[in-house]
């Protein structure tokens, strides 16, 4: 099963509720009707360079659901010497890559702490959770009011609330159309991480 999936969420195609549609261009998503929810994940390229860094960009079209929420969760193997991060932004020059200057929000795990920053070189906010687990999860949810005004940003990691001082507009932007995933200091044969965007059944897995 998908450890990051909320069992209460229903797949898009069940048709009970209107959900967020996530377009994924790099990963095969087979949301087949109401019956099956099979997601074929693909492997993040094995690090081919000695610096162990791997980066993948994927298009993303995200809007708020009818409940006015945007959320994602990130699960990964977290060690004192690895980095797993997701970056959101708008691919302004349309080159299919979220360049350094196009990143608006980064979230992830870096060498012993969860972190988030606005922009590739923005001020970094970190949080350490005293968890002994090897696999850790961060959940990010922005909730808006009737007119789409954000009113609550909730970030949970390893069962704790973190990043409580973040401004609400850090949680989401309708302009985001690209997501960049990166890993560093990882041994691809051992570690895995997953990102689930929105409360939809759509899940993106990278092993």
């Amino acid at each position: 099963m998908f450890p990051s999936m909320n069992p209460m969420r229903r797949p898009l195609v069940v048709g009970i509720d209107y959900r967020v549609v996530v377009l994924v261009t790099l990963f095969a998503v087979l949301a087949l009707g109401a019956l099956a929810r099979t997601t074929a994940g693909v492997s993040l390229p094995v690090p081919t360079f000695a610096d162990t860094e791997v980066v993948t960009n994927m298009s993303l079209a995200v809007s708020l659901d009818t409940a006015g929420r945007f959320s994602f969760s990130l699960t990964c193997v977290a060690t004192p010497t690895n980095n797993v991060e997701v970056a959101f932004g708008k691919d302004a020059n349309g080159n299919g890559i979220l360049d350094v200057g196009e990143i608006e929000r980064m979230v992830g795990w870096d060498c012993g702490a969860w972190f988030t920053r606005g922009g590739a070189d923005g001020e970094c906010v970190t949080a350490e959770t005293n968890s002994a687990e090897e696999i850790r999860t961060l959940s990010w949810e922005l909730k808006t009011g009737l007119r789409g005004t954000p009113f609550r940003l909730s970030v949970m990691a390893d069962g704790m609330a973190i990043f409580s001082g973040l401004p609400l507009d850090a949680g989401y932007s309708p302009a985001w159309n690209m997501m960049r995933l990166a890993g560093r200091g990882i041994d691809a044969s051992q570690e895995n991480f997953s990102i689930t965007v929105s409360p939809d059944s759509t899940a993106i897995f990278m092993r």
């Binding site: 195609v13 009970i16 095969a28 998503v29 000695a50 610096d51 162990t52 860094e53 070189d121």
Partner: protein, 929 residues
């Protein structure tokens, strides 16, 4: 949601999914293709990257790197660029040039310098490595000027790129996609061991070093290389790798005064000259308006003072190699775009400009006066012989020399002389003079009053040159220096008559980096000079001369030529060889004598060898005000101080051989216990610079601090000016309370109803001006026995003057922010004897004094009488300007019994019914509850 809607969603998602699969497959293939292409690019274009980008091409990729060849443009072993390709050097693009950047070649470090202690290593990169990751480097207190503003940090990409910020790729640097850093767990993969880290540091001279050690070229652990960027205070920067470096300087087309900023102080000195040269270029001759004055009577001229150093020393900008003047040539191409290359015949800070000349557009190109340039371009250029330039044509190249005629004449008054343009020819020359007269080598005679020399018949050498647009003269000392002189240059003679000698004429130099007295008062770098001379003779058999230098780059070349650690020089029999250079401070020595020059001469036949060695030091002085000036807080390194201010002196390096000296000039001061040691360094007139020393400025601006930094025969005098208190600055007024003289009726602080009495005026007062600190003094209301207007009931008062008994004579130490006192002006109740229209005015002189080491003192108190008082005591008066008439405390009772007090620009009145008004605002109508 209805079933139709669900169906539509299902179709949409399925189509998207299928597209996603296709896209993924295409993307995956695309990624692989990119990887291969990138690898291929790095291999075949490795030479270009190495030559042009100056970043990282290691031995693994350099199979096709062009062999290093010598050229007149070479500095060290730098690889020349391929100019004949007809393309722009790939290091900078058209956009970069449009943004005002260009490459230069300068005599600077060509290899990554050692990171200073305290360098900060990026821990995240150390732990897990990285390539495409950005982070901010913004050291506290560091910034540089750029385009009218300040940049206080940069964004660094682990892949070897530096930007102003993530969204602004401002620096014309190559994006080295193949550079990355190894995680610590994999450092064992480095072929020669070591660490793969990024670190940064701010150097002692204020530049920012960004350093990649064992960065992976092509992201391969088998190709580690070192990469470094140094960002200087003027916005220029240099990339360095293990075997090459590339210096960049900003070019601001309208930055005429060369301070790196386009602003209103940029002059418009250019006068169109009659010459035309090259591609419709017009020469502009700068009108020289500089005035040279005697050392002890320097006065500002109408020229730009920040470019002209007060006194006599040339003050080249930091890292300047050549202080020759420059001016902008306008280059207009008849067709384009076309690159036009200017290649100078020697190294200089301006380097070799490259102009992308577009048809019909004007490009400003800075060229050195006195240098010879070869001009090349893929488009035909027309060259005309200008009136003041030398032009030689060789093939497709044009060589021309920028020459600005100069001749000097001297006015017969007070040693002043004004350089005027009167002769043609290249600039080069040495003036020499003896006391009372000067002789110009090129035939123009001048007189110069050699004052202050003191030893009669002394002589000194004056070197002249151009700094920016101005003719400046550098005058060495008068030759009257005492002991501690540098040793004579060592010389070794061989049996064949060959010899070699090398030496500095002084122990080194002392210099100061540029500093700001205020945001609008910038003082350029100042330095003493040291002449380095190397001579050799081949003797009967001829010989081979080898030279080696260490840390010579800590001295900036002012003029001449100096040895370098380059190829050996073959001397023919009896051939004389000489290198003479004048040098100034650029970087501080780590320890004294660490600048070394060694010369070895080997006889060509007998193989007999001789070796000589010389060393020097470069000492940087730093001064820092101890107290903050309330309206000049940023300028801690200012040299303008309030009287009595404390100043920290420190040298780099610190050494007991370096001395801080001064003389106490204020003989009126009484050296007593409990008082500050004004005009001394930690209580002494001379102390060594082995530690930070604290100097206390004179308490009067009448005394110019004769402070010097001395290293053997090198003396450096910093420019210090003093400011005396000018004003009492009152920031607020209120109605005072808690006054024991007042009765309290109920809960009100006032005299009883029906009585005539004063309300207490409380003011908060500071000592100005605020661009300096006055925490080094105490200020008091000086007791005054002089009466002013006394009328009505005040004629019977027992306090008709502001005496000590009336509250004067308390010296309060000025506190942080120049705070002086909260003054309470109040007096008694005149109900019984008041008279309408009564007036009393106290004159209150305000003066400053030495301060105690702690606490304050009262006149006639336990610490004795302060001798600098107004009347009744000896010595001089130390008063703020305009007193005693300036500060008064005025009292007036009108016909209704309203009592008004005025002081420090504020007033308060009280009526018999206790109606209180402060500066026109009613604070209380009456006692009525």
């Amino acid at each position: 949601m209805d079933i139709v809607h669900v169906y539509e969603r299902l179709v949409t998602v399925t189509l998207v999914s299928l597209l996603g699969v296709c896209a993924f497959l295409a993307t995956a293939k695309f990624i692989c293709c990119c990887m291969r292409t990138l690898s291929l690019l790095l291999r075949t274009r490795g030479a270009v990257f190495a030559v042009i980008m100056g970043v990282v091409t290691t031995t693994a990729i350099v199979a096709s790197v062009k062999p290093k060849t010598a050229s007149t443009n070479m500095v060290g072993s730098r690889v020349p660029r391929d100019r004949n390709a007809g393309n722009l050097p790939g290091l900078i693009t058209d956009d970069d040039i449009a943004n005002g950047w260009r490459e230069v070649e300068g005599e600077w470090s060509t290899a990554p310098v050692e990171m200073p202690s305290g360098a900060v290593t990026n821990e995240l990169l150390r732990r897990r490595g990285g390539c495409d990751w950005a982070f901010r480097v913004a050291p506290a207190g560091w910034s540089f000027q750029c385009r009218g503003g300040f940049i206080d940090g940069v964004t660094v990409l682990a892949r070897g790129e530096v930007r102003i910020d993530a969204r602004t790729p401002y620096f014309p640097v190559p994006i080295a996609e193949g550079v990355s850093l190894l995680p610590m767990s994999r450092w064992g993969q480095l072929p020669d061991g070591g660490v793969s880290v990024f670190s940064h540091a701010v150097t002692s001279y204020g530049s920012l070093l960004l350093d990649w050690r064992n960065a992976l070229v092509g992201r391969s652990a088998s190709n580690p290389a070192n990469l470094q960027l140094e960002l200087f205070g003027d916005g220029s920067f240099e990339w360095r790798t293990d075997d090459s470096s590339q210096l960049y300087a900003p070019v601001f087309p309208f930055d005429w005064d060369g301070d790196g900023l386009e602003n209103s102080v940029d002059p418009e000195p250019l006068v169109a000259g009659p010459d035309a040269h090259g591609t419709n270029a017009e020469w502009y001759n700068v009108v020289c308006s500089n005035v040279f004055e005697a050392a002890d009577a320097a006065a500002p001229s109408t020229a730009h003072e920040d470019m002209r150093p007060p006194g006599l020393d040339l003050a080249p900008r930091a890292a300047d190699v050549n202080t020759n003047a420059y001016y902008f040539v306008e280059v207009v191409a008849s067709r384009g775009p076309a690159p036009i290359y200017f290649t100078a015949d020697g190294a200089s800070r301006l380097g070799n400009p490259v102009v992308v000349a577009r048809a019909g557009e004007t490009n400003h190109v800075p060229l050195l006066i006195g240098a010879t340039y070869a001009v090349t371009s893929p488009v035909p250029i027309a060259v005309e012989a200008p009136l003041s330039a030398t032009v030689a044509t060789a093939g497709d190249e044009r060589n021309f020399t920028v020459a600005w005629p100069a001749g000097l004449a001297c006015s017969p008054q007070d040693g002043l002389f004004v350089p005027t343009v009167s002769e043609h020819g290249r600039l080069n020359g040495v003036f020499s003079w003896t006391c009372g007269c000067c002789l110009v080598v090129n035939g123009t005679t001048m007189r110069y009053a050699c004052s202050g020399c003191g030893c009669g018949g002394c002589s000194a050498v004056v070197n002249y040159g151009y700094e920016g647009y101005f003719l400046l003269l550098a005058v060495e000392g008068c030759g009257c220096s005492g002991g501690g002189a540098s040793a004579a240059a060592p010389r070794v003679d061989l049996n064949t008559g060959a010899y070699v000698t090398v030496g500095f004429d002084r122990k080194g130099v002392v210099f100061e980096d540029a500093y700001d007295n205020s945001p609008s008062n910038h003082v350029a770098r100042r330095s003493t000079r040291a002449v380095l001379t190397l001579k050799a003779n081949g003797g009967a058999n001829g010989g081979v001369l080898t030279m080696r230098t260490s840390r010579l780059s800590r001295l900036a070349l002012v003029e001449g030529e100096r040895p370098s650690s380059g190829p050996a020089v073959t001397l023919a029999p009896y051939q004389e060889y000489e290198l003479v250079s004048t040098n100034a401070g650029a970087l501080a020595s780590t320890h004294l004598g660490d600048i070394e020059v060694t010369a070895a001469l080997t006889d060509a036949s007998t193989q007999e060898a001789a070796q000589v060695h010389a060393s020097a030091s470069s000492v940087r002085l730093e001064m820092e005000a101890v107290f903050e000036a309330p309206e000049n807080t940023a300028c801690r390194h200012r040299h303008v101080y309030g009287v009595g201010e404390k100043v920290k002196f420190r040298t780099f390096p610190q050494s007991p051989e370096i001395m801080f000296t001064t003389r106490r000039l204020d003989t009126g001061l009484v050296v007593g216990s409990g008082l500050w040691d004004y005009e001394l360094f930690d209580g002494a007139e001379q102390i060594d610079a082995s530690a930070v020393r604290e100097y206390i400025c004179p308490i009067s601006a009448n005394y110019h601090p004769p402070v010097k930094v001395v290293l053997g025969d090198v003396e450096y005098e910093p420019l210090i000016s003093l400011v005396e208190p000018q004003d009492v600055v009152t920031t607020g007024a209120s109605w005072g309370e808690n006054n024991v003289d007042f009765f309290y009726e109920g809960n009100r602080r006032c005299w009883p109803s029906g009585t005539v009495g004063e309300a207490c005026l409380v003011t908060t007062n500071y000592i100005g001006p605020m661009h300096v600190s006055f925490q080094g003094i105490a200020v008091s209301e000086v007791p005054c026995e002089e009466e002013d207007v006394i009328t009505g009931c005040f004629t019977t008062s027992n306090r008709r003057t502001h005496t000590i008994e009336a509250g004067a004579g308390k010296a309060y130490v000025v506190k942080c922010g120049n705070f002086w006192i909260v003054d309470a002006a109040r007096s008694g109740n005149y109900a019984q004897s008041w008279m309408p229209d009564s007036t009393m005015i106290w004159k209150i002189p305000i003066g400053w004094h030495r301060r105690m080491k702690e606490g304050r003192y009262d006149w006639f108190g336990a610490y004795g009488v302060e001798h600098e008082t107004y009347t009744g005591y000896e010595s001089r008066e130390l008063l703020l300007p305009g007193s005693p008439n300036r500060y008064k405390q005025e009292r007036h009772i009108d016909e209704y019994g309203v009592f008004t007090t005025r002081k420090f620009g504020h007033w308060i009145s009280r009526s018999p019914s206790c109606r209180v008004v402060l500066d026109g605002t009613v604070l209380q109508e009456s006692h009525t509850p």
